[in-house]
């Protein structure tokens, strides 16, 4: 009778080495391999950003000067001057577009999220916002400033 009592705990029913983490197990090897792959993908994806910065600094850095940022473009066949007008124009257009798009985007988002969620109308609003995101910015009835606002407008209802 004493023998039967002793016997039960001695014989383990589980193969213990099987439970230990080991790279010889295919599923663990696969797991490590995939982790490595995603890490590599993340690093590779950052390459374009630095490549773009490097290209711009290498090719454009030399001609960067205070005159280039502030003066008007030179007349034909002349050297010197800058693109100050383009900088001012960019700032004004982006500001105006933001002023137009932010209230519209936020109010539409408030409606779709708070007042009429899950209704047919809301689905139409979200759908048309998505369509606006996909419009080519060159479609002539839309000016290029609206090309930027379409992004803001298209984004906010979607992210809510």
């Amino acid at each position: 009778m004493a023998a039967t009592v002793n016997k039960t705990p001695v014989e383990p029913e589980v193969d213990l080495p099987q439970l230990q983490r080991s790279l010889r197990q295919p599923r663990l090897l696969f797991s490590y391999f995939m982790s490595l792959m995603t890490g590599t993908a993340t690093v590779v994806a950052m390459f374009p950003l630095f490549s773009v910065l490097y290209l711009l600094i290498k090719r454009g850095g030399a001609s960067l000067s205070a005159a280039a940022l502030t003066e008007l473009p030179p007349a034909a066949m002349m050297t010197g001057g800058g693109f100050g007008n383009a900088i001012v124009g960019t700032i004004i257009i982006v500001l105006l577009a933001t002023l137009i798009a932010v209230p519209i985007g936020i109010l539409a988002a408030i409606y779709t999220a708070e007042f009429g969620p899950e209704t047919e109308f809301t689905r139409w609003v979200q759908f048309s916002a998505k369509i606006l995101t996909g419009l080519p910015s060159h479609s002539p009835p839309l000016s290029s400033s609206q090309g930027d606002s379409r992004l803001l407008l298209g984004r906010s209802p979607w992210r809510f």
Partner: protein
């Protein structure tokens, strides 16, 4: 009445409470109504804007639609002098480059989303610091989080680079970089239709590479949000039954987050279809129908960008027709996406 008259001191307290919880004034009710109407109106304006754009383009395109009809969709030449217009190569190029770009963008975007949401880097670095005896020491304690944040911001910055700059980068960096390997593929595997021509400069492949980079931040940001939102109890249950990290990711987390990830992919597809400037610089603007990823091509958006500045008369109508075709493609993609999304949502309802 009698008690309030008897002790003025006892009266003050109930009155202050009444001040706080009094019914809204008529001004507040009015403002609430106006605000509701305003949001409703603005939301309706979004729909109106979309319809307005379609109608405006449609009105200009109407003569071209009447004279070219369905032959416009199957024609392969675009010649303003002979007034023959066909957009089949542009449609094919738009879909081909967008799908190639989307495949690349989704692969990398999803990998990044998994890498940043499952804390691979943090756990790895924390283990390393533990071995070096640095754990919990000021700077090193927050280091893994900070480097993960840095990676996330860097990836998101990719979305901030203007399309034109991507076009320049494609011309100066991508095309020279992919020319030797694509030449090798052409000479050795040229019998496969996808490698059937040599890369002479601009073409489908450089355009798709740049498109992939442009849609990658969108897909990775939305997928990451979806993965982070997977309920902790599902997470713990997966690890609790002994799944390895990747078994849990592939069999549990990704299917749970599939709706959100798919939404990001559809949004990326919409952007890829409408992308103009970089493709006008990189696709080659040649109305060629080819399976080869090295052949120059054209896309609908690039066609509009290239021809509109000098177009007049009949060509404007034809270009607007092309814009309508592009709009229809975007519409179809979004409708298919919405249907799949709704199905996936219904299938996952029990999990949430």
């Amino acid at each position: 009445m009698s008690s309030s008259a008897a002790s003025p001191a006892a009266l003050t307290e109930p009155e202050t409470v009444g001040d706080i919880s009094q019914p809204p004034s008529s001004g507040e009710v009015l403002w609430d109504r106006v605000f509701r109407r305003m949001t409703l109106g603005i939301a309706g304006f979004t729909v109106f804007l979309t319809i307005y754009v379609v109608i405006r383009i449609g009105r200009v395109a109407l003569p071209a639609i009447n004279s070219y009809g369905a032959g416009f969709l199957t024609g392969t030449t675009w010649d303003a002098n002979r007034a023959t217009f066909g957009v089949l190569p542009a449609i094919a190029g738009t879909l081909y480059s967008s799908i190639l770009g989307l495949i690349g963008g989704t692969l990398f975007g999803l990998a990044i989303a998994i890498f940043l949401s499952e804390r691979f880097l943090s756990t790895g670095l924390e283990n390393l610091f533990k071995r070096l005896g640095l754990e919990g020491l000021g700077f090193w304690a927050t280091f893994p989080d900070r480097i993960e944040n840095f990676l996330r911001v860097t990836i998101e910055l990719l979305a901030a680079i203007p399309s034109v700059v991507y076009g320049l980068w494609g011309v100066f960096v991508v095309i020279p970089a992919i020319r030797p390997p694509s030449q090798w593929l052409y000479t050795h595997l040229g019998w496969i239709p996808t490698f059937g021509t040599s890369l002479s400069g601009p073409g489908l492949l450089p355009a798709s590479v740049v498109l992939a980079i442009m849609v990658l931040p969108t897909i990775s940001a939305i997928s990451r949000d979806a993965l982070v939102a997977v309920p902790p109890k599902i997470r713990e249950a997966a690890f609790g039954i002994g799944a390895t990290r990747w078994e849990a990711i592939l069999a549990v987390f990704l299917p749970t987050a599939a709706t959100g990830i798919f939404g990001g992919v559809i949004l990326g597809f919409g952007r890829a279809l409408g992308e103009t400037m970089a493709l006008a610089m990189l696709a080659g603007n040649a109305n060629v129908l080819s399976w080869s990823i090295f052949s120059p091509a054209n896309t609908l958006a690039a066609l509009l960008a290239n021809h509109f500045p000098e177009a007049g008369g009949v060509e404007v109508g034809a270009l607007m027709y092309a814009a309508l075709v592009l709009l229809a493609i975007t519409l179809i993609v979004n409708i298919i996406g919405t249907i799949i999304l709704q199905r996936a949502d219904a299938a996952l309802k029990g999990l949430r």
